[in-house]
């Protein structure tokens, strides 16, 4: 509890509530054990039930829902009734933003809170965009991967606007933590949905450079590897022929540490028809010198290295290897059909 809420006067002793008979929780046909938990909470909920059942849409009822939410922000019915009251009273929703911000500073992972926030923002319309973006930014200061806040932010951008600085904001978050998958996801969200950027094709080059830089700092970071793959999503030809991609693989393989994602990307390249350079073959060879593998197929060798380097997922890499031959078989089948 906050210090300002410490000196709580029981509702039963507040004159403005004297006309209300509290309603205890009905726990169904089975007699309930006497309730021993926080009396204050119990009392608040008993009065809440009374106003809820009477459908009393008043200022004091609104105040009561604030108290009930402070005790337990997870109670869905209380929130729902609060909105009914706000609508009935035609209340100033800017106060409501403050109410939510105060709550979020204590617990930002509550579904009801975010749902309520969106309801308020939607009512306020585009004037709310800036404050909503700022609100989520503040949440990210403490929890940069907060799923609710990200979902809210995306909704704000798409419905209220404020795209202008979003790519720069992603830069900033990734500077703080390059492993932040939520920020990588947001980056993809921006480049694919920002109405002023013109889509992936237009921005691919600069994004590829950015991503490669990020990968080279921390090659064990799965997010940028997937992001890089996403940049070529609908353009396999560019993926296979862009020398930046294969050079990246070579660089990471040559360093000999954290090679799993580089090998995986190389495998994707090979499966899509990429012809490996001698440098790449040598780098691969030097990763497992002892095996002196008989398998002449480079893709199969990549799979073998992955089986050794990533034993937890050995079955996945074995499956990748076994589907290499079925790729060939598919090819043969297609030949016979055409």
């Amino acid at each position: 509890m906050d210090s300002d809420e410490d000196e709580r006067i029981p509702l039963s002793q507040r004159p403005e509530w004297s006309d209300i008979t509290p309603v205890p929780q009905d726990d169904g046909p089975n007699p309930v054990v006497p309730i021993a938990y926080s009396e204050e909470f119990a009392e608040t909920m008993d009065y809440f039930r009374a106003v809820y059942l009477a459908d009393e849409r008043s200022h004091r009822a609104l105040q009561l829902t604030s108290e009930a939410i402070h005790f337990n922000a997870g109670n869905y019915t209380v929130w729902q009734f609060r909105r009914v009251i706000l609508e009935a009273l035609n209340a100033d929703l800017h106060d409501e933003l403050e109410f939510v911000e105060h709550l979020a500073s204590k617990n930002s992972k509550n579904y009801q809170l975010w749902h309520h926030r969106r309801w308020v923002a939607e009512k306020l319309g585009s004037e709310a965009a800036g404050r909503e973006l700022e609100f989520t930014k503040n949440i990210f200061l403490n929890d940069a991967k907060n799923y609710h806040a990200w979902s809210h932010r995306q909704w704000v951008l798409q419905n209220l606007g404020g795209w202008e600085d979003e790519l720069a904001y992603c830069d900033k978050l990734l500077e703080d933590d390059i492993f932040n998958n939520s920020a990588w996801n947001q980056r993809y969200f921006v480049i694919t949905r920002h109405p002023g950027l013109g889509g992936i094709e237009g921005i691919r080059d600069s994004e590829v450079n950015y991503t490669i830089k990020a990968i080279l700092t921390k090659p064990e970071n799965e997010s940028p590897w997937r992001y890089l793959r996403g940049l070529y999503k609908n353009n396999m030809k560019a993926f296979v022929t862009d020398s930046k991609v294969s050079t990246l693989c070579l660089k990471v393989l040559t360093s000999k540490v954290n090679c799993v994602f580089a090998l995986s990307l190389l495998l994707d390249l090979l499966v899509h028809g990429f012809e490996p350079t001698q440098d790449l073959k040598n780098a691969l060879e030097s990763l497992i010198p002892e095996s002196n593998n008989l398998d002449s197929d480079v893709a199969a060798r990549v799979c073998l290295v992955l089986e050794i380097m990533d034993p937890m997922r050995v079955n996945y890499w074995r499956w990748r290897k076994s589907s290499l031959s079925s790729h060939v078989e598919d090819g043969v089948k297609n030949l016979s059909v055409h």
Binding site: I35, M45, H115, N180, M312, Y316, W319
Partner: protein, 312 residues
């Protein structure tokens, strides 16, 4: 590590039902019906559903129903899809869905579908692929999928697919194991798994296994027992479960048990709760741990319950 403390877990669950006087139970009053589903399903998987008073549970569940046809989290609470599915699941466990006014419940659910195929959780309109799953699973258990536009519902779910093969809560939202379970589950129930990029998603899901053997929900997050369910059931539905190290995962779940008082926690040495107890036991069931009933990965109910519903 050792073995599953099945008896202790049964005792733990039965004891929660009686303990309505502590603060934890007050805070969860509004979602008691979810808690009841987690507890009862755990008991059933452990083979101990008979230990509860069936009549009392059923009449309590029915008194959580709202006049609209939907269910609230407890008596006198507002209806929501989250609670409606739990109610239907509990009735399914006891083979009692026939006591429902099925047209009424299914109408309540179908009115929550939006034009784009998505679902709101309640009349306030929040949209999330979780709600698509809740609606589709509920209606399927009631044999009433024809009440909604399935094609549109599927279309919306697919629009939430990401570059990593996973799914988020809305189009463009980050992939998250919990959301992936909901989307893959809904697609499995509607016979639309061919829209899933199984190999890509399977790889992302098996990358969720960390050194301790546990699974996380997103990259760089801590492992947590509840993801044993979400990741594992998704992998099973897309037929890629062999891509993780199952033995290590079993070991991780068992390490999260409270051997003395029963219950399972999110990570070793944390406090137990009914939510993680359910996900731990259900995860072990998916991993074919001996002595447990098999659970259906899409409906999150024991396989014999599902067979009883659909094979009669």
């Amino acid at each position: 590590m050792g073995q599953l403390a099945a008896e202790k877990h049964t005792k733990y669950i039965l004891q929660i039902e009686k303990k309505k006087d502590d603060i934890e139970s007050a805070l969860t009053e509004h979602l008691r019906i979810n808690g009841a589903y987690w507890g009862l399903t755990t008991l059933d998987i452990l083979g101990n559903l008979k230990a509860v008073e069936q009549e009392a549970v059923i009449s309590w569940v029915m008194s959580c129903q709202h006049e609209s046809g939907g269910f609230g989290g407890n008596i006198g609470h507002d209806p929501h899809l989250l609670y409606t599915l739990s109610a239907i699941q509990i009735l399914s466990l006891f083979n009692k869905t026939q006591i429902l006014n099925i047209p009424k419940v299914s109408t309540y659910i179908s009115t929550l579908q939006n034009k784009d195929g998505s679902f709101s959780g309640d009349k306030w309109g929040e949209i999330d692929t979780r709600f698509s799953y809740l609606a589709i699973c509920s209606l399927s258990l009631l044999n009433s999928l024809d009440k909604i536009n399935v094609e549109k519902a599927v279309e919306y779910i697919i629009s939430c697919k990401n570059l990593d093969g996973g799914f988020g809560c809305t189009p463009g939202a980050e992939s998250h194991s919990g959301q992936i379970f909901c989307c893959v589950g809904a697609l499995a129930i509607t016979g639309c798994l061919h829209y899933v990029d199984k190999d890509l998603l399977g790889w992302w899901l098996c990358e969720r296994q960390v050194k301790s053997g546990g699974l996380n929900g997103r990259p760089e997050k801590l492992p947590d027992v509840c993801y044993s369910w979400w990741v594992l059931s998704s992998l099973i539905m897309i037929d890629r479960v062999d891509w993780i190290d199952k033995e290590k995962l079993v070991k991780f779940i068992l390490e999260c048990q409270d051997i003395e008082n029963g219950g399972i926690s999110d990570r070793p040495d944390d406090a137990v709760d009914v939510f993680h107890t359910y996900f731990g036991v259900a995860g072990l069931s998916l991993l074919e741990y001996p002595g447990l009933k098999a659970i259906d990965p899409a409906y999150a109910l024991p396989v014999d319950v599902i067979n009883r519903l659909f094979l009669k």
